[in-house]
Each structure stands twice: as structure tokens, then as C-alpha cells.
């Protein structure tokens, strides 16, 4: 009864609030909040200058550049092709469309380590695709990019698809009546409707790529300053018994992830309002 009395904004006749919320809070507290706070508390053992040193040394900065840069680029590519794929799946018919539609979720269901070794084998110098390419993919930042494109693929497609399906074709017909060609109709009518979802999908793919470890670790070269991702740096620091340094970098990543999440949720709320929801 305590939670109901203090937190509820609007009176409700439905039962079970205290039980459900209480359990949820307990669960989150034990599994998520308390362990996460361990990371923050460990970081607080560092003085401010130490924290700055640990999180902004050249090697760490290089890893941020790689992790954030590759994630951003991968999410961008996924946004572009994700829109095309969603369009193609919603609007057109072609053989095996159902199979393709189902397979789009493969990166979501396939274990990251499996994806990692498969991609490394394919793009290595003697791999199926790697041997045709004049530049190095495996063991380079490009390899990191490829792995991140793989795991972010479903996010844009699956966020954009439902919105695209809901687009009212009459709007497009009206535009055509008024004299617009297909490109104008797309850019001025359809794209604005889809844009919030596209942004959300992009942000989700970006967030997912930031933390990714299992699929990247096999294909990255792990060369400091060049192809070392931030999660690997955390592990490296851990193995040198520099727990505080590891948690310092982890805290930077956690805060970035949290900020990104707030942005995503705000985007989704904005998108819902624009669609006429609440």
C-alpha cells in the first residue's frame, strides 16, 4: 500500500501495484543497480586528476575514436541500407521475400562469438571475400566496422518497417495528383513520416555497437592506437590489476550509454506525439 499511496499519480482501481513495482524494484536493484554502483564506487577511489589521466590517455582516446567512430559509421550505413531494405520488404514483392524478412533478425539471434569468427574467416586475406579485396579488412579498423554493421543491421529495419507499413498510401496518391513525381513524393511526404523511426533505429544501432565485444574481438587487430576497441581496453586494464582504471573507463562508457538511452527515449516520445499519440 505504501508505494501506491506515495507514487501513483492517478487513482486506480486495479490491484497489484505494490507487489509488481516492489518486486520489479527489488530485482532491478539487486541485479542491475547495486552491481553497477560497484563500478562507480570503485572509480571514486581515484582522485580527479587520476580519473582524467586514466580516461584520457592517448591510447584510451584512440580507442574512443575507434569505438565511437566505427559505431557511428556503421549505424549510418545501417540507416541508409536499413531504409532501403525496409522499403523493399514493405512495398515490393520478390522471390523468397519471406525468408529474407525472417533472416534480417539473424544478427539479433546469432551469438556474437560465432559472428566474430565467421566474419574474420570471410574477410581475412585468404577468405572468400577478403581475397578479392585490395585492402585489408580483417585485423583492421575496417574489420571492426564490418562487424558492427552486421550486429546493427536489424535495428533500423525493424524500427522503420512498422511505420512504413502504416503510411497511408492515399497521401502519396494525393501528392501525385498535385503533380509531384515519385522522388518528390518520397522526400516530402513519406520520408518525414518515417524519419523519427529512422532516427530511433539509428540511435539503437549506435548504442548496441558501442558496447559490442564478442563479434569484434576476433576481427579487430587489437593494435593500440589503431584497432583497439574500448571494451578490450577495459579487459586489459583488469588483467593488469588496475581495477580502478578499468572501472573509470567503464564509467565513461556507462554514462555515454545512459545519455544515448535518454536521447532514444526522448526521440521515441517525440515520434509518438508526432503520430498523434500521447
Amino acid at each position: 500500500m505504501f508505494l501506491r499511496r506515495t507514487l501513483l499519480r492517478r487513482h486506480s482501481v486495479l490491484p497489484g501495484f505494490d507487489l509488481a513495482l516492489g518486486f520489479a524494484l527489488l530485482y532491478i536493484g539487486l541485479i542491475v543497480l547495486i552491481p553497477l554502483s560497484a563500478a562507480f564506487l570503485k572509480t571514486f577511489t581515484l582522485s580527479w586528476p587520476q580519473f582524467i589521466a586514466a580516461t584520457t590517455s592517448p591510447r584510451v582516446l584512440a580507442s574512443y575514436r575507434l569505438t565511437f567512430g566505427a559505431s557511428f559509421a556503421a549505424a549510418l550505413l545501417n540507416a541508409f541500407f536499413g531504409l532501403i531494405i525496409a522499403w523493399v520488404l514493405v512495398r515490393y514483392r520478390f522471390p523468397a521475400k519471406r525468408v529474407v524478412d525472417a533472416l534480417v533478425d539473424l544478427p539479433f539471434a546469432l551469438p556474437t562469438a560465432v559472428a566474430g569468427i565467421a566474419l574474420t574467416a570471410i574477410y581475412a586475406g585468404n577468405g572468400w571475400i577478403g581475397k578479392w579485396l585490395p585492402f585489408k579488412v580483417s585485423y583492421s579498423p575496417l574489420g571492426v566496422f564490418v562487424a558492427l554493421v552486421f550486429i546493427g543491421l536489424p535495428f533500423v529495419v525493424r524500427t522503420v518497417q512498422p511505420v512504413l507499413e502504416d503510411v497511408n498510401r492515399e497521401l502519396e496518391e494525393a501528392a501525385a495528383t498535385l503533380g509531384a513525381n515519385r522522388w518528390q513524393t518520397f522526400t516530402k511526404v513519406v520520408f518525414p513520416i518515417v524519419m523519427p523511426a529512422l532516427l530511433t533505429g539509428f540511435a539503437l544501432a549506435f548504442a548496441r555497437a558501442l558496447g559490442e565485444y564478442g563479434s569484434v574481438i576476433f576481427i579487430a587487430g587489437n593494435m593500440p592506437m589503431i584497432s583497439e576497441i574500448t571494451p578490450l581496453l577495459i579487459i586489459t586494464k583488469l588483467e593488469q590489476y588496475d581495477y580502478a582504471g578499468a572501472t573509470a573507463i567503464a564509467v565513461v562508457m556507462l554514462v555515454s550509454a545512459f545519455v544515448l538511452l535518454l536521447v532514444i527515449n526522448a526521440l521515441q516520445a517525440w515520434a509518438r506525439k508526432r503520430q498523434g499519440g500521447v
Binding site: F23, P58, R59, T120, G125, S138, Y139, N222, P224, E239
Partner: protein, 340 residues
Amino acid sequence: MSKSSISRRRRAVISLLFSAAAFNAAAAEITLLNVSYDVSREFYKDFNAAFAESWKKGGGDKITINQSHGGSSRQARSVVDGLEADVITMNQANDIDILFEQGKMIPPDWAKRLPFNSSPTSSVSVILVRKGNPKNLRDWSDLGRAGISVIIPNPKTSGNGRYTYLAAWGAALQNGVSPAAAKALVTRIFANVPVLDGGGRAATTTFAQRNLGDALVTFESEVPLIEREFGGGYEVVYPTRTILAENPVSVVDKVVDKRGTRKAAEAYLNYLYTDAGQEIAARHHLRPRNAKALAQHAKDFPKVTTFTVDEVFGGWKKAQKEHFDDGGLYDQVIATAKTR
């Protein structure tokens, strides 16, 4: 009311899980956990079987030895964090020193407890090249030539990698060059490294399976396995001087005293020094200390001038501090190497 009944149920489930784990530890037969480094897998497979036989013959109960392998630093860190290893078998002393410094799990003079500084076997760092040695790589200085690419595992996470670094550096010093020139050579070598894998095995895969690199620096003990698994496309080059990688072992006192397995753990390590144990080591291309085994496998272990970390670098503790800690010489080397 309902909240506490749920947490009661959760506690029951959790304690059920814990007691299941504890029950396993209290079972009748003895189990030992050997936490070891990456490339010692095959050796311990054979060794453990032989030891179990010998233990049983000596009147002991059934004994099972579990193995855990990984990059040496990662393994040591796990033991410090609570992985209950009865024995730890590493390829460098400072990974065992950590157990004392970070966790007080062993006495500081652990190395004196067994012969040869507690190192029953050793190995040397060698250079593996493609058949025919097309780039004519003969020594450490050749690895620093322009246009060569070398595969070395990450010295920050791999003992194999650290030995390679120290081998090149130490060989240069032994040849009479100044420390600055030695540093320059090692920097040139690492500028030629395209990928830093986490451990010796991953580096070998990169070299042999992915066909990356003109040379791989690894332990002599790895070579036969590589040849077996990847066919005969390689040659071994012994540099003029190389480092002797001693493989220290120790019981983890804190764990064996708690689990009551001290007798078994000590017998396990002692078996490494027996004729049988040394013979198995020699078969797996680890340089034995035992003269008999050495003589029998003489052709597998060519004579090569070696130096130890103690001789050239003043011991592992000093080497770790000067070279491999954050901000140390290795960090400087890799920073310079990658901006070339």
C-alpha cells in the same frame, strides 16, 4: 506480506544453488584445479593422465584434475579474484608473484620451495618463418627490417608476448648495444606487427590459418603442434641469442589449506620433476631439467645461447615495472611504433 514471501522464495532458490555448488566441492574423490597459461593445454592433458595413474598406484583415491587455460595475466587475475586454483602453473614468475602481492595467497618466497626456482621446465623463444625462408630472417634485427611483418601476441595480456619483447631487447643488450639502440630495435619490430592477438594461440592462428605475417615469434614448444595442425609450410629459425622462458609452478596455499588438498597438490607438482614427468615434458617439446630426458631428446633441443630475465633484466618484478606497467617502456615503444 507478498513481497517478503517472494524474497523468501528467492532466498530459498539462491541457497539451493549455493548448496549444490558446495556439495560438489565436498564429494568423496579429490579434485584439483590447475590454472595454467594458454599454450600448455596438450602437455597437461598427457601429464594429468599419467599423474592420476601414478597417484592411484601409490595408494591414493581417485583424483581428477581440472584445467583452465587462457592468457597468463588473465588467468592470474582470475585466481586473485577467487578462482579456486589448487596449483598455478605459469610461464613467468611475476604472474605467480601477483598471488602474493594482490591476494596474499602464497608466501613471498614461494619460488624457493621447489628445485630450479620452482621451474621444472623451460622453453626458448624462436622465430617461425614460411618454408624456404623467402625473406631471409635469421635474427632479431631482421625482424625490424622495413617491409617485414611479424606476428607477436599482445605483451600486455600474454606471457608469450612479453618474452618475445624481452628476448629481442635482451639479445641486443647481450650483443653489446646501448639500451637506447635496443629500444629502437624493439620499436622497429613492433612497428612491423599488424595485429596483437590476446594470446599465443590466437597469434598462431593469425599466422598459420589467416596467412598473415612473414614470421611468428613463439615458444619452441609450440612448433611441433603448429607443424602437425597446419602441415609443413614452416621452418624454425633459432636466433643467435634468445631468452630462456622458465615455467614456474606453485601450490596456492590459501586454497589448498581451505580445501584440504595440500598433499595431493604438492605430489602433483613434485611429479613434474620425476623422470616420468620430465619425459612427458620433453615429448611435448618443453625443455626438461632432468639430464636423462635431455639426453634422450637432444635432437629436439638444439643448443642455443640463452639468457634469463633474472640475468639481463634483474628479475621479473623489475622488468614488469620498467617495461610492462602502464607508462612503462613498452607503452612508449608501441606509441612510437604506431606513429611511424
